[in-house]
Symmetry: C2
Subunit: 506 residues, 2 copies
Amino acid sequence: MGTARVNHDLNDHLNTTMNPLDPDEFRRQGHLIVDFLADYYQNVEKYPVRSQVEPGYLRKCLPKIAPYEPEPIETILQDVQKDIIPGLTHWQSPNFFAHFQCNASIAGFVGEMLSTGFNVVGFNWISSPAATELESIVMDWLGKLLNLPTSFLFSGGGGGVLQGTTCEAMLCTLTAARDQMLNKIGRENMGKLVVYESDQTHFSLQKAAKIAGINPSNIRSLMTTKSTAFGLSPDSLRSAIQSDIKSGLIPLFFCATIGTTSSNAVDPLGPLCDVAKDYNIWVHIDAAYAGSAFICSEFHYFLHGIDGANSFSLNAHKWFLTTLDCCCLWLKDPSALIKALSTDPEILKNEASDSNQVVDYKDWQIALSRRFRAMKIWFVLRSYGVSNLRKFIRGHVKMAKHFEGLIAMDKRFEVVVPRNFAMVCFRVSPLMVANANQKLLGEEDANEFNSKLLESINAAGRVYMTHAVVGGVYVIRLAVGATLTDYCHVNKAWKEIQEHAHTMQS
Amino acid sequence: MGTARVNHDLNDHLNTTMNPLDPDEFRRQGHLIVDFLADYYQNVEKYPVRSQVEPGYLRKCLPKIAPYEPEPIETILQDVQKDIIPGLTHWQSPNFFAHFQCNASIAGFVGEMLSTGFNVVGFNWISSPAATELESIVMDWLGKLLNLPTSFLFSGGGGGVLQGTTCEAMLCTLTAARDQMLNKIGRENMGKLVVYESDQTHFSLQKAAKIAGINPSNIRSLMTTKSTAFGLSPDSLRSAIQSDIKSGLIPLFFCATIGTTSSNAVDPLGPLCDVAKDYNIWVHIDAAYAGSAFICSEFHYFLHGIDGANSFSLNAHKWFLTTLDCCCLWLKDPSALIKALSTDPEILKNEASDSNQVVDYKDWQIALSRRFRAMKIWFVLRSYGVSNLRKFIRGHVKMAKHFEGLIAMDKRFEVVVPRNFAMVCFRVSPLMVANANQKLLGEEDANEFNSKLLESINAAGRVYMTHAVVGGVYVIRLAVGATLTDYCHVNKAWKEIQEHAHTMQS
């Protein structure tokens, strides 16, 4: 190939392609979107919180194939406003009290923008040393703030990693525990491994166990009751373990929860870890929602006994302002994780990894590729400072307490389980339902009434809450945690609840 | 609790907390970061491509604990410039020719901004109908563009889903295949399941298989040779399967690759799928890198035989401008995936899901929570249009061809394997190395010479490439694919390579 041909190719390219990272156009479109989103936050209360579209609505609005010619950003943004926003359930609305929140913030957003803008793939140290090192540093910062034992921090021989979600953290720790055990007892015993949880544990654990090849009939979902506020009794755990051992099975893994999804129940870590220790079981603590509260010392008593656990995780995207997704996982013995998940292909060989002086986070998670999530945590911690972050958490807890106070003043309603954090589980009490139905009826009718009440509130679109069933009781969950929520929104939600209940009762 | 107390709480909150989503401050900081990133792209060529920091550099720059008081965004951004940027390996540099690229674009970036800004958690349809519906629509759009068989599209009874990475896609499809098989033959046969790959398959498959509980000694990594350009021979697959069946094992899953990481080899899909069909094995096609090229018809012949596969995935964050992370997975029979991964907890019960009229993507992936990734694909397809996206891919392929032409003009160098897409595997030829060493030596010396040459080039920081070893031969990989790369950068890389080789040889 001669020089002439080379030059021809050159001109051909320059004349016909666009530059998808042209700095001026980047600036123009970036500013447009920042303003679009600022306007969105300003107007978010105007939209129904839960989307009101019908299944299949969007297929009717969009063409059947991708466009051949480029379209201007202005046109696309008009379509976002016209076709996408009506189909959103507005998680950033201050009137969103459903599930647990996924709270956004300016710091989390700009951290994500930088991470997306640099767009590095931090699978090993050399692929972007800053991504790895900042992650190790902020995981130690945050671990200290949460009052985790030093043994969970890099500075104490353990270590932390950022993953996408708790499901991943559960799958990774379970795989580490599984392989550690199978290396001792032989792979042929895979079918004998048993995983323990309570009937309040998040369903992610069962899913993770299934993916990891644990026999579904070896997952023990131990019953909890109202008498222990739906925390798991250490005696239940011990007798389940003993019974399995008698049957020739092998206890492997136990997941304790601080702040369950249904009712914010807290398992008693100390006594449970003591039981687990007797049988050499891996203990993972799932504090997906409530974990962020441990930056406030008044919640530290829930962590009592954590020294006996092997791993601990929380979702910073729930209540720590980082935006989705950002799950923080700490382990006492990262080497168990690394042994289970490490790979050492020729194509990634490099001096730094060979020297064993660096962390290669690809060996701490399922995937090879990984985003620069540490940026978001770093921005949140620095932009707000520990002082404001504590105020933020305490503000939500106080609002939930305030809501409890409102319920206490209306005898039609009752709080069903004690409040531990910023979520209140309540219902219209069976007695009131019986009165409304003009006959004395039981729990089932109360459940049906409350279910209809919730649907009536959510369909109106001014407030969004979700439900749970604990101990057979249908409860409405009011979770306070959206970034923009203030007392006025809690008061408005309460008024809305009262009005819908009134309409249904009359 | 009386009204007075309620009001007290109210004032208490308003007086002491910040608003982390204040629209005016959002606007101010958002604009700052857009400008910061636009400047970064303008200056990205000034930084060494591969970071030159030493392990542990960042711990020396940052405090040991998180700050108690908030810090202004301007201070944090100064630290990004001073402490973070030197620790980045600049994946968006036009001189980044390493690994496969992770290409950013304005459309991908603004799509990610909107997704992060709305910050919805689209686990099921009702949690944000637009997130689910847009995903199904763009997966059909993209599948059609790639010329996938209709059976992989929603419109043809199959369907597509967006996950984070290929590792996840492999783990999910493998789990689906595993559970489908175990439901037929019984869980006690778990230890007999066998997974097939070639010795060129990405190491993610071995990792996924380990996580899914496949016995590591049941992973067959079948040898490929230069004679088939490192594509897997169907005869090898058949004899491996037959040998396993003779030993009482159960063939389960085969992963074919289009565009391997080491050398862009392509497995012959048609004949391989025919073999797999004879034994009822799940075939997954990993086109992580090369898949995006199928929007151009000149590459469609590589897809011949895909009808026989069960699933197909590509990483849109590699060569389709979406930014990390965005893996597209299509399946002929999503119900196998859903059966393996579905969960139906009380807390997520809702009318739309109960009606079976909607897709609940939580049952198509490992995690519950999921980001609104479809926004990025939608923005990329619309902002550039199919016409420009084809030019973008073809531009890179032409540049790689141009680089091949440059190599052909210098007899010291040789292209080691045929180029299929936009990556060239080359080296200084053994004859030249022998001359430089003033003695006739073999492949080992050539490998060592080329390894030192690559390190010398990368250490200089003006260009970044990585290596592979194929068939015992150490090759330097020049992968063209960064968004900002143009002919001048390829020419500069070539000059750099020649100069370093010259210095080492003299």
